[in-house]
């Protein structure tokens, strides 16, 4: 194929060559970064409400526990007082979590409720730099009624965003 004569090397050519070499050096220097979101934990968020819809404060002591695989108890919330809201972990892959809510008043009365949270579990891959997470879709909740009146699922999807409460808990009227 016919080739047309170029204009030859001019002063600018040296600069272009230097720039080309610099670019090769930069390209060879691979850079790395960690691609994990700052908020990368999965929690469920609970809010306490009165029957009228206003925020409730549980002045009694509230302890929440669950049973581990080896049969021992694991305390998730320890002796919380003046409770209006709290966050709890959720199991990675169990189809149903069982939580024990223990409410103790100043007179020494203790009432224990069991809450069953049924859910679907989805693994979530963010990056190789981050641990695997599990997101969830809450499908049902049931409970005993010693001190809890009712529980409403406010947000089904559980992921990194716990700013919207997943559950609204209505405790029975107290003195």
């Amino acid at each position: 194929m016919k080739r047309h004569k170029a204009n030859g090397h001019k002063p600018g050519a040296g600069r272009l060559q230097a720039a080309a070499m610099a670019a090769m050096t930069l390209a060879a220097a691979a850079c790395s970064s960690v691609d994990c979101p700052v908020q990368n934990t999965v929690y469920t968020s609970y809010g306490l409400y009165k029957a009228g819809g206003e925020r409730d404060t549980l002045r009694d002591t509230l302890t929440i526990a669950t049973t581990r695989r080896d049969g021992t108890d694991s305390v998730l919330l320890n002796r919380s007082v003046n409770t209006t809201a709290f966050e709890l972990p959720i199991s990675y892959t169990d189809p149903e979590d069982t939580l024990f809510f223990t409410v103790g008043d100043t007179l020494g009365n203790v009432r224990i409720d069991t809450v069953y949270i049924k859910k679907d579990n989805y693994p979530h891959f963010e990056s190789v730099d981050c641990n695997i997470s599990f997101f969830h879709n809450i499908t049902a909740v049931r409970w005993t009624r010693q001190s809890i009146d009712s529980i409403v699922v406010n947000k089904q999807h559980v992921d990194y965003d716990a700013s919207t409460e997943h559950f609204h808990i209505y405790f029975k009227a107290r003195r």
Binding site: A6, A20, A27, D35, S127
Partner: protein, 229 residues
Amino acid sequence: MTLRQNISTSISRLAVSAVLLVAALSAHGQGKLFAIAKDSVPLLNGFAVSFDVAGPVVLALSDYGEYEAAVRLNLHNQYFPIVEVGYGMAEHDDEVTSMYYKTEAPYFRVGCDLNLLKNKHSANRLYAGVRYAFTYYKVDISRPTFQDPVWGWDTGFSVSGDQCNQHWAEVVLGLDTRLWGPLHLGWSVRYKLRLAHKDSSAGNTWYVPGYGKYGDTRIGANFNVIIDI
């Protein structure tokens, strides 16, 4: 908007602004950026093949990279329609998180470069261009069995051969210079903007062949060995 998004947006604006600035300066100096000069150089003035050197170097130094070649038409030393074909691969087993990721697939780009120099027929070229690119790839992602930190149950995770795809656009700014005879060396900086994507069933992906690490935008660079034919 997160800090990362803010930084990404700033880099995006900077890259686009730089390309527009160069184009504007060139147009101002020349007056006729898109006009084809009437001279002895024919419209179809040959073609060039090129090979990217940066991708294999990155692949040798890290867990991902690509092999890439291109065919570029030369229209009057001014317009350069181009097809780029590459094969990207990644295999990473993270020591900290124990996450394993593997993919390999071809990718394709088509586009056109515009020579911004006033003297179009110089041995050197400064050019800006655009690309449309896409890839269809499969990913394997897994993690060895581990215990739920609260409940203690064994938990596993693995996806294999998940079908993913991505389409993206690129704005390219680059230059090349003649070394000897038909041999040129050149580099290009690329601002990549993701247009559409289908990720793995487990959430995101990590490395996308030809695009780089997962994200809405990316900055990339090629270093090309170019042979005029």
